[in-house]
């Protein structure tokens, strides 16, 4: 699927770097992400309003399923890291987050919306993409994570 899309993009003279990662694609490598675990890569920023909702929800999911082999890596898209830290003082989270100063991760994933979340299985394949975040997203994630954690057993 990926190669087909890349070929189509090359024909249309579109930069392949701008292609969005979709379900079924291998997830681009994220520095500091643990291997062999169910992983949620979340792109967030202090200026992103739904992130106020997503960060505590993801933190709750991480606390609940962390021991079972689920981890979350937040990729911060703030212009200044101070903004990120100020946000985290008000909305504290326990999972890891990394800054993405040169946009390399955002470009690798082809982020189309903020927040964007990529649920990756133990083999490193993207199994679900969430663009935006509502209370319904948190509920959906809960079942998706549980089913992915069950797969590895």
């Amino acid at each position: 699927m990926t190669s087909l899309r890349r070929a189509a993009a090359a024909l249309l003279c579109v930069s392949t770097g701008a292609l969005a990662v979709e379900v079924g694609d291998p997830a681009p490598a994220v520095a500091g992400a643990p291997g062999g675990q169910v992983l949620y890569v979340d792109f967030w920023a202090s200026w992103c309003v739904p992130c106020r909702l997503s960060m505590p929800a993801l933190d709750a999911l991480y606390r609940k399923h962390g021991a079972a082999g689920f981890s979350v890596v937040g990729v911060n898209k703030d212009v200044s890291e101070d903004d990120a830290r100020r946000f985290l003082q008000r909305v504290p989270v326990t999972f890891r987050w990394v800054p993405d100063r040169d946009d390399s991760l955002a470009k690798a994933f082809g982020v189309k919306a903020m927040p964007s979340g990529y649920l990756v299985d133990r083999k490193g394949i993207v199994r679900k993409v969430h663009r935006g975040f509502t209370a319904g997203t948190a509920a959906a994630l809960e079942t998706e994570i549980a089913s992915l954690l069950g797969e590895g057993k």
Binding site: W47, K77, D78, D83, D103
Partner: protein, 69 residues
């Protein structure tokens, strides 16, 4: 020389437009990128303008020009 395409190309190249990716909107959220320096002052000036001009709902629809709403 009639070269509309060339002029169009020059025009497009000379424009200072740049696409902003969704994840780059932090730049637009910076205080110095706001249209108004002070949102409060802007709101006050707008209210006075509406009252003076007796304009019904000039900026937003919100009543008549009596300055009392």
């Amino acid at each position: 020389m009639n070269c509309t395409v060339c002029w169009l190309a020059v025009l497009l190249l000379a424009s200072a437009c740049a696409p902003v990716a969704p994840y780059q909107r932090g730049y637009l959220a910076r205080p110095d990128m706001a249209f108004e320096e002070s949102p409060g002052t802007a709101k006050a000036l707008e209210k006075v303008f509406v009252a003076k001009e007796a304009a019904t709902g000039s900026a937003t629809v919100g009543g008549s020009g009596c300055g009392c709403n």
